[in-house]
Structure formats: C-alpha cells, structure tokens
Symmetry: C2
Subunit: 194 residues, 2 copies
C-alpha cells in the first residue's frame, strides 16, 4: 500500500505523511517543481529529517505561467493557488493509486471540495486523503507535539510552497510579487520532537 | 492531550482510536448506554483487545425514547439515528476537550456536517475529530491492514451500535424492530492483525 503525499516541508503535509505511515502505508513524498527555481530543497531536508523518501514531481511550466497570469489579473493569489494545487494533485494521480495532501478541514485555499474529490477519485481511479478529519486547533496541537518546527522570515530558500516559484515567475514577468504576497513568517518541520 | 472517542467496537471507531493514539494522544473509549440493555459489552471486549481503556457513557433514557418514536413515525431509521448520534456527541463534549467519532467522508447518517461541527466546537469549547480525511475505500484498505475483524449475523450480543438498544425499546413499545432494521451481518474488531 503505497501512498504519494504532496509535500512542502510544512507542518500540515508532514502531519499527513506521518499519519499515513503510522497507519501502515508506505509513504513517498513529492514536491512539485515547475523548472523555474529549485524550491524543493527545503522540503527534501524536512523529508530526510523525518525519515521519508523524497521525490521531485516535475510539472509543466505552462501551469505555473497560467497561475501567474491569473494572479496578476486578480491582484490576489487565491484562485491561482487553487488552480496550481488542483493541477498538481491531478498530476500526482496520474502515477499513483493513493494520493494525499495536507489540506485541513478549515482551509479555504487551496483545497478540493467534496465534489472535486469524488470527481478526481472516479476519473483517475485513485484514493485521495487529506486532513479534513481535523480542525486547525487539532492540527496545531498534534503537530506541536510531533515536530520540531523552525520559524523564519520567509525567503525563497527556506520554503517549498508553490509561492516560491510563483514569486520568481511573477517578478520575471515584470510584476511585483511583494504586492501579491506580503512578507510573512515561514514555518518548516526540521525533525521529530525529542 | 486526552481524547475521548465514541466507540462501538466496529472498524471505523477502532480506526479513529488507533489513529489518534499513534499521533500522540491519550485515547479513552466511550460507548453510549441508555440503560435498556447492556449493549456495551462487545465494544468493551474490542477495546481490551486493542489495549484501550473503555468507559460506558451513561445517557438519558429519554433520548432513546425520542429516537424510537421518531423512527416508528418515519418507518425508517435515518433521522432517529442522526438524532441519537448528535445527542451522544454533545454529551461526550460536556466532559472532554477533544472528542472524536468514526464517521467517514462518504457517510450520510449518522454524521455531523461542517456547520454542526463548528457549532459544537464553539458552544462546547471542544475540538472534534472524525474520519473525514478518508473515503470508504481508504478506510477499508487501512482497517483490513490494521485489524482482525469478525463477521457474524447480527444479534443483540455481538454489537454495541445504537441499533441494539433502539431495537430493544422499539419491541418493548409494541413495534417490530425487524421491519425497521432488516437482518444483516455485523463486523467487529477482535484485535490487531498479526
């Protein structure tokens, strides 16, 4: 029973990975990359610290381009992030029977709703798992108990979120990514709690 | 971090109990009882086989009465079962900070929807966890891998579902519980897979 988990190195995707492993599945981690910047490195370090195999999921650069165009058009990232997340899940589903991500019950974006989940499962003949069992307080409680977490001012070398390559491409396109994504703090899992 | 899990001895509530334990919570199991029949015994045996503490959650008999009246009025159990489940979750929330049950993403009844969950969490200041992360195929896959499961023709001494006391009271009220709940097979967790 192999499960492919979409992985950013953050606490939510680390949570779902550890949960599935402890429930008996063989977990492989996948971080999406669109060929614009090697943003998967922080995730690969988190994966190693947690004892998981880590892989880069090579994605079509055009998906990133469509995402950035949408975000620049909207002036805010929500719809673009929803799109790039859904496309990544679809890509992961091409080659795996059980796929998972760290979206939580109380998340708005990015997140598949129940109809999108059922459509995905039917079309791709996969099982999709996320963190809908848990509200944000339970995720916080459990992850603080499970993981050592680092918190740093966000920069493009300490995060493997979609945001890193989106920022890079938006700036290349002549936009200003700081208008879209204000500076924030970035948390990353750096190991299990001792 | 104590979590109180509503427990029937079935594979779904056993799944959520084991999941929370393996995520680091101190799990206590609770089986509802309305004082009509000692239907908690099969659940207590399953709990023991899995190494969990088991408790009986003493519930008001009037809740069972309202449930049975509703079921007899409707001629089918769905709304009554939804009511008795919701009342039991509310009762468990009176005395615990983290509560859980084994309802799954694809379940219809009994199940709290997202608005009921948020209302419960706000009113009772609790965290509620269920199996919404998983579709029925994933639950089947994972539980078959985790547990030894017995399958028998359902009778009132091999199940701890609400159904047992509902049947008993409906028959006492002069109804015929076999019209409402047709005979079926009952699965029960009897230990971990070797």
């Amino acid at each position: 029973m192999k499960a492919a988990v979409l992985y950013s190195g953050g606490k939510d995707s680390s949570f779902v990975a550890v949960m599935l492993k402890r429930l008996g599945l063989d977990v492989e981690l996948y971080t999406a990359n669109f060929g614009v910047y090697d943003s998967f490195i922080p995730a690969s370090k988190s994966a190693e610290a947690l004892g998981f195999n880590h892989n880069v999921l090579r994605m079509d650069k055009d998906i990133l381009k469509v995402t950035c165009e949408r975000i620049l058009e909207d002036g805010f990232p929500n719809e673009g992030i929803k799109y790039i997340h859904a496309q990544t899940v679809e890509t992961l589903a091409e080659t795996h029977d059980i796929i998972a991500d760290g979206t939580r019950r109380d998340d708005r974006t990015p997140k598949l709703n129940i109809n999108q989940i059922k459509s995905l499962e039917d079309r791709k003949q996969v099982q999709y798992i996320n963190l809908d069992s848990f509200g944000h307080r339970s995720v916080k409680l459990i992850t603080e108990n499970l993981f050592e977490i680092s918190k740093e001012r966000s920069n493009r070398d300490n995060s493997s979120d979609f945001e890193v390559e989106i920022r890079t491409m938006i700036d290349e396109m002549g936009g200003n990514s700081l208008d879209i994504f204000p500076e924030h703090y970035q948390t990353r899992v750096i190991g299990y709690k001792k």
